[in-house]
């Protein structure tokens, strides 16, 4: 399914990540998935949260450069080769993966990943099938209190 990911610009120096996390804590925002990509000078904090629009507003209000981007999420079997199966489907279809990271908490036998690709909808159809991708809105997730 396609979800909205929030990205924040953070400088690569001590304390900057803590500042962003502090703002999120203050507003009682729980992170479902996150990753930090970095260069020598700066990093990008990417995260999946419950109410992306609200979080975007909060962080912008706190003075951060924020961006909301549609990304793909999919479940993979929590077994060796589970991720490979899904990635192979995409590479066969010529879809390029920009970046990928895993969710913090999932059910016992399946893992969930966030993935940014160059052809989002096509990738969604390939890995999640036609029916699932129509589930836009408030779908219950397998983690209590968290919905898509």
């Amino acid at each position: 399914m396609i979800i909205q990911q929030i990205s924040v610009f953070v400088e690569n120096r001590p304390g900057t990540l803590a500042e962003v996390l502090g703002v999120l804590k203050e507003h009682e925002i729980n992170l479902r998935a996150m990753s930090v990509a970095d260069t020598a000078d700066f990093g990008i904090l990417r995260m999946v949260v419950n109410d992306p629009e609200k979080v975007e507003r909060i962080l912008r209000g706190a003075g951060y450069a924020v961006k909301s981007t549609p990304v793909l999420t999919m479940t993979v079997d929590d077994t060796p080769g589970g991720l490979l199966t899904q990635i192979e489907k995409m590479s066969t279809a010529g879809i390029n993966v920009e970046y990928l990271y895993a969710f913090a908490a999932t059910s016992a036998n399946a893992a969930r990943v966030v993935i940014k690709v160059d052809n989002l909808e096509r990738a969604d159809r390939i890995v999640n099938g036609e029916t699932l991708s129509t589930g836009v809105g408030k779908e219950k997730s397998d983690v209590p209190g968290f919905y898509w």
Binding site: I44, A65, K67
Partner: protein, 426 residues
Amino acid sequence: METMAREQLGELQSARLIQQVRRAYRQVPFYREQMQKLGLLPEEVRSIDDLCKLPFITKQDMRDNYPYGLFAVPLAEIVRLHASSGTTGKHTVVGYTSRDLGIWSEVMARTLTAAGASKQSFIQVAYGYGLFTGGLGAHYGAEAIGASVIPASSGNTQRQIMLMKDFGTTMLACTPSYALFIAETMHEMGIDPQELSLTAGVFGAEPWSQKMRLEIEKALSIKAFDIYGLSEIIGPGVASECSCQNGLHVNEDHFYPEIIDPLTGQSLPYGEKGELVLTTLTKEGMPMLRYRTRDLTILHSEPCACGRTLVRMSKVLGRSDDMLIIRGVNVFPSQVESVLLGLGETSPHYQLLVDRIDNLDNLTVLVEMTENMFSDEIRRLEVLEHKIEAELASALSVSAKVRLVSPKTIERSEGKAKRVIDKRNI
């Protein structure tokens, strides 16, 4: 010339100024209009003491008259053009007649001679050759003395050192920071400067301190001389140090120096610190009457032990505007601003960070991140950084590193951002 009695020099300066003002009035519409605005006729300038009646000319006036508006001779008489980088991408252009080039060679010959050069010298010119006046200025001066010139131009430091060693270079001409860089490379290559024939160096095109002089002298086992010049006036050769190394003798028979209060424009007496204003007394191609250099210094009229009667200026003590000199190149913060605005995606919040690392000037431009520029992909942000770096390099003629910083992190003082942090100890 250099030891002429002051009174006699004054007469020469007066005679030359009268001619220069008349010619400028007749040939250059800009000067004519400026003088007419003040109701001043060229005949009213009767001696060098009347110079203060004339209005100033600034770099902005040069830009407004780009490229040839200030030339006082038909273009066919111009035999050389030089240029320095300007704030809005436009250069400031200067033109020389063949007589001007002769004067330039003469003043540079004086400069090199004062530093000990002779017919027997091997002078390695490691200033850049090109639109920048440093390379060709030093080159022609060295040839005028009859010395052997090694036109190495700047860069390729290991080759510079090899040339010094193999050709027996006795004098080096380059920027002071490059001299230190050469010394360091020499050390890394395991070459002892005492094994070389090098005895002296003439260094200019950027401000440097007494401390840096001692460092260069020690590292290269030479005597280091400060030279001063600017392309608007002629290039290097406006003023230079003698063996006393106690101020730079201004070649006053060609360039008349004044010191003014940069805020009021009022003339200040010798001994007081202020902005240097220069008037060319002999230049044909592009006469400059009362050019505001923006360089802060002090003029000293006390006699010098070397016997030269020409006034001395202190080492340049600073600027009366926000211009930076980075690796010999003039950089204005506003140039950076126009590049950033030209990209259309950045906010004009930026800061220039200048530092000297391994004796070379380093420019970093901090650019505040905006929502427009931001992306969730590192790759895109790196492309953006490189794009800004490329645009800056082409606009400034000097490379700069771009560092993206968080929004609103660049210090603002009284609503106005502090544009420059210069950490160089000079």
